[in-house]
């Protein structure tokens, strides 16, 4: 059959269905296949927050969104181009995100009376003309499959379970993706169940054939390969990237890894991954509470481990006293905070840049520590390594901020070669001659690390103020001032050991967009798009929040206006104001949703129009 081919720059597709429909699975497959094909890919899974939501309901809808392109992309897509809706509820929930003129592929079997009523539709949207703004393809997938799988004599339940593969096959046809990777994956997954394997392979193929053979599918879309750096890639979520990053950092530090953690959404997956890493020698404790999570890590750090604790907002609140102890003990420790909307329980499954203030200021006394933030799922790996590097080199706790969005979203991760990563091996002191626990490295000001088990170095450390050098308890007023200043100086000095901030676009001028952490993608996409349309704007995105890069003050001075988009009420804005006396303009989205490129674009345009009028 003759088909027209259309070339596109980028497409956003969303697989949506009931929780039991296997949407996460096909979404991940589509994402991998697109990565293998050579596109840049950015994804976000969207599960219901109920553990087992009732079938067919609006709150039981599960979706997986994939944005793929022939160029570098940074978000999972503000709007959907193609919506695959396996039932009425999934159409209703996701329709608002579909752009006008977009494609709907609906499984009519999921639009029977029962499904319509669960979705609270009075009439069938596929029949009542309400979708006239979209291109709608109606397919009774269940019927097609019953026919295709007839001779396998499968239980109808299994036939129903393969409808996601049909949808995936059709999506593969629509965007001209090869089936091979998914076929291989199915073969590995169902190696011991040949009839289920056969059913899934057939369903996948049937989806493809449906697109290829039916007249109504007149156009096939091609999204050519992106011009990405050569190398080996995989898709990775931010949480997995942190977990693997910790193991690799420990390997590069030549230390065993210890994780002390308490389950909390959306950080728990890191604990899950780490608990499966026994075969890498990793020890972990699922602690009785958040405090024990960090305290056990402090104990392990005292014992010479690379130690970490992982948490989210409420857990960070519980850990603050212990973080203060780690500051005082000057022991290396990685604290990963997967930020979620607060305060209190807030919106546990929803992202927010909620914790910059608590990371920066949330301890009694003067307790400075380095703060890092990851910009994307893949960047979570880099920043975990970086957190370990700084923690070990400066003998300090480090807070790494990620968020619920980059923690669960994926993007392609260029796999580094182990030996190309920095060597993080610390030095342990063993010589009792003139040993003092708070003797410092003259350059880094890091104190010596002496492990229990070393003869002759027996010493006591604690939360009481330390005497300089000896580490003995001291209530001396001047010593206290001195120690506070030394601890501050040590953290401030890290500024010489981190990269300068980079300004993209004009190096000086009217408008600079300053963001931090997980909003990078949205800001970058908006920035790129507007630059291409000729706007003279600039952006500078921060991954180092304490200390800030050395040149940040200079950069801020070079622009007339600073726009600071944040998923909070202006935390970075306030900190920059107090540190550099700049009055930033806030774009503050506090809805438990990730930032969208379009929102940045609108705000920038609004500001630029202001100038003109």
């Amino acid at each position: 059959m003759e088909k027209r081919i259309e070339y596109l720059e980028d497409v956003t597709i969303r697989f949506a269905g009931d929780s039991g429909d296997g949407m996460q699975l096909v979404g991940a497959q589509f994402s991998n296949t697109s990565g293998i094909y050579g596109n840049d890919v950015n994804t976000f899974p969207d599960y219901p927050s109920e553990i087992r939501a009732p079938e067919g309901t609006l709150y039981g809808v599960s979706a997986y969104q994939i944005h793929f392109a022939r160029h570098k992309i940074n978000t999972f897509g503000d709007f959907i181009d193609v919506l695959i809706a396996m039932n009425a509820s999934s159409l209703k929930v996701n329709l608002p995100k579909l752009r006008r003129g977009g494609i709907i592929i609906a499984n009519t079997a999921g639009f029977d009376e029962k499904n319509l009523s669960l979705a609270k539709y009075e009439t069938n949207p596929l029949e009542d003309g309400s979708l006239s703004d979209y291109q709608v393809y109606k397919i009774d997938i269940n019927r097609v499959l019953t026919h295709v799988l007839e001779d396998l004599n499968l239980n109808p339940k299994y036939v129903d379970k393969t409808k996601n593969m049909f949808a995936l096959g059709l999506a593969y046809w629509l965007f001209n993706r090869p089936l091979e990777a998914t076929e291989n994956w199915l073969k590995a997954k169902f190696a011991k169940k040949p009839d289920i394997l056969e059913a899934n392979l057939r369903a996948l193929k049937a989806g493809w054939n449906y697109g290829a053979s039916r007249e109504e599918f007149a156009i096939q879309y091609h999204i050519p390969k992106a011009d990405l750096e050569p190398g080996i890639y995989r898709n990775i979520t931010g949480n997995e990237a942190v977990a693997i990053g910790l193991v690799i950092a420990a390997k590069r530090a030549n230390l065993p890894l210890f994780l002390g953690s308490y389950p909390i959404t959306p950080a728990t997956e890191i604990l899950h991954f780490i608990s499966g890493f026994k075969k890498f020698g990793v020890k972990h404790l699922q602690a009785e509470d958040e405090i024990a999570g960090i305290c056990s890590a402090i104990g392990a750090s005292f014992g010479g481990y690379l130690a970490a604790t992982t948490t989210s907002g409420p857990g960070l609140s519980l850990k603050v006293e212990s973080i203060g102890l780690a500051v005082m003990l000057e022991l290396p420790l990685i604290i990963v905070d997967v930020q979620r909307a607060g305060p209190s329980t807030g919106l546990p499954t929803k992202p927010e840049q909620s914790d910059l203030f608590i990371a920066m200021y949330g301890r009694h006394g003067e307790a400075p520590l380095p703060i890092l933030a990851a910009t994307s799922a893949a960047d979570c790996f880099n920043m975990t390594i970086e957190a370990a590097r700084i923690a070990l080199k400066y003998m300090t706790p480090v807070i790494l901020l990620t968020d619920g969005y980059i923690a669960q979203g994926t993007n392609p991760f260029k796999i580094p070669k182990l030996e190309e990563l920095p060597d993080l091996t610390p030095t342990f002191v063993t010589d009792p001659e003139n040993f003092q626990p708070y003797k410092r490295d003259p350059v880094t000001l890091a104190r010596l690390w002496a492990l229990p088990g070393t003869p002759g170095l027996e010493h006591r450390i604690g939360g009481l103020e330390k005497e300089d050098i000896t580490g003995l308890v001291s209530h001396d007023p001047l010593n206290h001032q001195k120690m506070v200043e030394i601890r501050q100086k040590k953290i401030d000095g890290i500024v010489n050991d981190i990269p300068d901030a980079v300004v993209e676009g004009e190096q000086e001028g009217d408008l600079l967009i300053v963001g931090w952490g997980g909003t990078y993608g949205a800001i970058k996409d908006a920035f790129e798009k507007m630059r291409q349309s000729g706007y003279k704007i600039s952006m500078c995105h921060l991954r180092y929040l304490n200390p800030f890069p050395k040149n940040l003050g200079d950069i801020l001075k070079r622009f007339r206006r600073i726009l600071i988009p944040e998923l909070n009420n202006g935390q970075l804005r306030a900190i920059l104001a107090s540190k550099y006396l700049v009055r930033g303009i806030g774009l503050n989205k506090i809805q438990g949703l990730p930032l969208k490129a379009i929102e940045v674009e609108m705000k920038v345009k609004e500001l630029l129009n202001e100038v003109r009028s």
Partner: protein, 349 residues
């Protein structure tokens, strides 16, 4: 996998033959009030540590906050003086990470049972191989005299001027109920018994809990006199010795029988009861341990001292090590390239 810390773990140990209690003293002045029960605990600890055959560098004391938690500064081994209530949590991480170390905790009734209660019960439940010495003085002393979770109803303290309303914890019962595998009680005035308990705890493989009645001369003086003073203790305490009947009294003329599940005092001189009728202590009997623990606040029976329970179960740290050993030979073990690549990866040329 050889780690950098193995260099430390495998260092030649310091000589242990000639260790004396003096070797465990630090140059720091002990800052407890004179007459504080803590001194005796410190002295007995130093004595026992010298006799264990463990090099000094392999011993760590961790403490929280309180008078008792000053302890690590006074023992010349490794130490952390941490936060209020958190010693056991920190020590758990240390022991899991470093099973080669002998990890001890010095704590008090407030530190261990109030603010640190959660860590205490969970470390006991997990059977982390820690030695917990809880100085029980039934009062918050460092904060200058408020009632604690072991203060008695009616006790007048600075924060209970009309008398305490709470019922106290029974620390031994709480430890048993939480799954501790070694549980004992002793008191500051009896050095010999304290040494014995510390020695037993040190040699126990598993979570060891010792409640040590400690006199606070300032805020709760004489709280345990009935059980600790020469004049009264024989009549008011009973020593638990494995395999021996429960006999007590000035003339060792009384004993404890089990009346159903209730311990009762009987006379051994009135002809009705003989030694053969008495409870015979069995440190491995968990049920008996609970019954004996329940004698604690019962005024009709003497207060048991000694080892309530001592049983061997695999420790948490052993089990962690075992799992790691087990997976050493699993497919993909220590294959970091494979870890980085995951199950699905692709190459872009």
């Amino acid at each position: 996998m050889i780690y950098k810390i193995d260099e430390i773990i495998n260092l030649n140990p310091s000589p242990i033959q000639q260790l004396t209690p003096k070797d465990f003293k630090t140059p720091i002045d002990v800052r407890w009030c004179s007459g504080c029960g803590g001194y005796s605990i410190l002295a007995q600890t130093q004595r026992i540590l010298a006799s264990l055959g463990i090099p000094r560098e392999k011993i760590v004391f961790v403490s929280g906050i309180g008078c008792s938690s000053r302890f690590p500064y006074y023992v010349n081994v490794y130490g952390i003086h941490s936060m209020h209530g958190r010693a056991i949590a920190i020590a758990s991480g240390l022991k899991i990470a470093r099973p080669d170390l002998s990890v001890w905790i010095a704590t008090g009734d407030g530190d261990c049972l109030s603010i640190g209660g959660n860590h205490f019960i969970h470390a006991a439940r997990r059977n982390v191989n820690l030695k917990v010495i809880m100085f029980n003085n039934a009062v918050y002393s460092l904060t200058k005299g408020q009632y604690s979770p072991t203060s008695l109803p009616g006790q007048i303290t600075k924060s209970s001027p009309l008398g305490v309303l709470d019922d106290p914890f029974n620390p031994v019962g709480l430890a048993l109920g939480s799954g501790a595998t070694f549980v004992a009680r002793c008191y500051d005035r009896d050095q010999k018994m304290m040494q014995l308990m510390f020695d037993r705890a040190a040699r126990h493989d598993g979570f060891a809990f010792i409640e040590a009645y400690t006199n606070c001369v300032i805020y709760n003086d004489g709280a345990f006199d009935l059980y600790t003073r020469k004049e009264s203790r024989a009549e008011h305490t009973v020593l638990l010795e494995h395999g021996k009947p429960l006999i007590f009294g000035d003339n060792m003329d009384k004993g404890i029988i089990l009346d159903g599940f209730t311990p009762r005092v009987v006379s051994l001189t009135d002809g009705k009861w003989s030694v053969n009728d008495l409870i015979v202590h069995n440190e491995q009997d968990t049920t008996l341990a609970f019954i004996l623990a329940n004698m604690t606040y019962n005024p009709d029976v003497p207060r048991p001292m000694g080892v309530f329970l001592s049983i061997r179960k695999p420790t948490y740290d052993e089990k962690v090590t075992e799992q790691i050993e087990f997976y050493k030979s699993a497919p993909g073990a220590y294959d970091f390239d494979k870890l980085l690549k995951g199950d699905e990866y692709w190459e872009l040329k």
